[in-house]
């Protein structure tokens, strides 16, 4: 049976024909190209790099940007793309989020025309890969405290410091390094192979195993004037990128939830215990009813958020609400689905456990669940509880 994501409230009717066509094309790509190979990559802890040109050809990289070889889709279409990708694997969606929302977006928004011309067309094609270096080992939720420094030199800048938990770090052709220049956080484009710049993969992950996560080391890295993203000014520049990515994460989580829901329902219908399908037991029906209810709410949340974003009315706190709700929802759905699958639920022959593990990372990155609670608390009360 061809995969169809749960859509109990006919939310497809909220999307344009073009948005649906885009969604369907990505869905087909995921079915054909990702589903058959993802379990193996997850098991072996490898990123399916061979998919990157296809992602580029399809137009998924930097899809919401205009020009420079990018498709320029609506915020809603972008969200639907994320749903489908994450139905495949959160790691693949992470790759696309980092490439588009965290790397191409800042170059597009804060870069010079030369920087845009130099990087964006290749990145849209997947011929150049980006990484986004904000987090440091000692500064995760509090990136403003970062230690990485930039100093002005005669010909450019000298960078020193380290970054941790950086998606795509070792495979990136260009890394956006956030560093303090005279106490102000700025973004720098550091090309692969620049002297003093090195990256190493973080091993032993239980989560996002099909995605590359790395540590970056910057030891007296000399970069030219042209490496500075001229429009960056303070932490808010970095946070504006995260806001784009969080928006995609909020949508993407729906896809993971749909995938585990689909798997759990099919399994429950086929699994016979005590002489009948377990789908017929009230306890299991309660779980499935809960999952579908939460998926449906998350879908409507995002459908509305997408239109708000297109109208320029989506505030960062609105994005926080959706990221916080939807990722927690998807993680709960995955844990419930795993229960329904009984013993087979711990196997990688089924998708559920992989999604469940992946979603633990998704809950932590792009602002932890707690941090989004605090952002909402701030939006409600006007009082900042961070410090």
């Amino acid at each position: 049976m061809a995969y169809k994501g749960a859509d109990f409230y006919l939310s497809d009717e909220l999307f344009t024909e073009e948005e649906i066509l885009i969604r369907d094309s990505v869905r087909q790509f995921v079915t054909d190209q990702i589903m058959p190979i993802i379990a193996k990559h997850n098991r072996e802890g490898t990123f399916p790099a061979h998919l990157v040109p296809g992602l580029g050809e399809l137009g998924l990289l930097g899809a919401s940007l205009e020009g420079y070889g990018c498709a320029g889709v609506s915020a809603t279409a972008y969200g639907l793309m994320m749903v489908e990708l994450e139905r495949g694997d959160s790691g693949i969606r992470s790759f696309v989020s980092v490439q588009g929302a965290l790397c191409m977006y800042p170059i597009y928004r804060f870069g010079s025309e030369e920087q845009k011309q130099h990087y964006l067309p290749d990145m849209a094609k997947g011929e150049a890969i980006g990484s986004f270096g904000l987090t440091e080992a000692d500064f995760g939720s509090n990136p403003g405290g970062m230690r990485t420094r930039a100093e002005k030199t005669a010909g450019g800048y000298l960078l020193n410091g380290s970054k941790s938990w950086i998606t795509n770090g070792t495979i990136a052709d260009v890394s956006i390094i956030w560093a303090k220049l005279d106490g102000v956080i700025r973004g720098f484009l550091v090309d692969k192979g620049t002297k003093g710049f090195s990256a190493q993969d973080i091993k032993g992950k239980f989560s996002l195993r099909a995605s590359v996560t790395s540590e970056l080391l910057l030891e007296n890295v000399e970069v030219p004037e042209t490496a500075l993203l001229p429009g960056t000014e303070g932490l808010k520049s970095a946070l504006s990128c995260l806001n784009q990515a969080r928006y995609g994460v909020a949508w993407g989580a729906i896809g993971a939830a749909q995938a585990v829901f689909d798997e759990a329902v099919r399994y429950a219908q086929g699994r016979v215990q005590f002489g009948r399908p377990i789908a017929g037991f009230q306890l299991q029906q309660a779980k499935m009813a809960e999952m579908l209810t939460e998926i449906t709410k998350a879908q409507l949340l995002c459908a509305r958020l997408g239109r708000l974003k297109e109208a320029g009315k989506a505030t960062p706190a609105m994005v926080s609400l959706a990221k916080r709700n939807n990722v927690a929802m998807a993680l709960d759905a995955a844990r419930t689905a795993r229960d329904i699958l009984g013993a087979v639920g711990i196997m990688d022959e089924y998708q559920t456990f992989r999604h469940m593990c992946n979603l633990e990372s998704v809950k932590t990155y792009e602002g932890t669940h707690d941090i989004h609670t605090l952002i909402l608390g701030q939006a409600i009360t006007g009082l900042d509880a961070f410090e």
């Binding site: 061809a2 066509l21 094309s25 498709a71 889709v73 279409a77």
Partner: protein, 262 residues
């Protein structure tokens, strides 16, 4: 080369089908439709031939309003323009009537090559392209697994039984039906989908094509479905029991006696 690709909208291969009240066709409301899978290969082949040189790919479909969807898919995947025969007069036809209408539409394009899927996934008749070739006065080849341009036309490797192939040379223009597996169809890219809305989709009626409405659609058909039925559920079957060895012996015995295969 100017290439026409004929495409058909068919029910999703996993749609739950029911026979309609007068048993003449399926109930076509409430199910999803898709581009006939064979036609995806025909389209891909057309795009590849075009990209190897230059030219134009025109997608043509006969079907009701909903069939516009498959033409949009073709435009999004790379076809340059589309013709949709959606006039009521064209609907409900058999392969002969449909080929009449398609031939009239295709004549307006004056193509060098007409590609069709090997068959349609709904009725699996595989008749329309062959009739179409005859009406257009073009040679045809069916079941192509390879199409190569030659100095005089095209060379087509046709799929026969048991991995055998027949190679034929055709002058152009010609009609070729394409077998699945001839290529790997591409996906409609996001940019392609967005560009599609600016591409031309014509919807000529019988008068525009100079066709007598009595020769197309239900009126022009010679073939009629009059008693469709869902095949009866297979009864019984036999469950073999015993040790693995006993089951294997019993199974071989039955295969031998009932099929003559062994």
């Amino acid at each position: 080369m100017k290439i026409v690709v004929c495409v058909k909208q068919v029910p999703d291969s996993d749609a739950a089908l029911a026979v309609n009240a007068d048993r003449t066709w399926i109930v076509d409301s409430g199910i999803n439709f898709e581009l006939n899978p064979y036609d995806r290969y025909a389209l891909e082949e057309a795009l590849r031939i075009k990209e190897a040189g230059e030219g134009e790919v025109v997608a043509v479909s006969l079907g009701p309003a909903r069939a516009a969807q498959v033409l949009k898919t073709c435009l999004a995947t790379g076809a340059d323009r589309a013709i949709h025969l959606k006039d009521e007069a064209f609907q409900g036809g058999d392969p002969w009537a449909n080929a009449q209408a398609l031939a009239a539409a295709i004549r307006t394009v004056e193509p060098d090559l007409v590609l069709c899927g090997f068959q349609a996934n709904d009725d699996t008749l595989a008749q329309t392209p062959v009739l179409l070739a005859e009406m257009l006065g073009m040679p045809h080849a069916t079941g192509a697994m390879k199409i190569e341009k030659t100095d005089t036309g095209v060379r087509v490797a046709r799929e026969l039984e048991a991995d055998r192939r027949e190679v034929v040379d055709l002058p152009l223009p010609a009609v070729i039906t394409v077998q699945t597996g001839i290529n790997e169809p591409r996906y409609a890219s996001i940019k392609g989908i967005m560009a599609a809305k600016r591409k031309e989709m014509k919807t000529p009626g019988p008068a525009d094509l100079g066709i007598d409405p009595s020769q197309v659609g239900a009126a022009g058909s010679r073939l009629r479905f009059f008693d469709l039925a869902v095949p009866p559920k297979k009864e019984g079957g036999e469950v073999l029991t015993g040790s693995t060895e006993e089951i294997a012996v019993a199974l071989v015995k039955r295969i031998r006696e009932n099929t003559g295969v062994l």
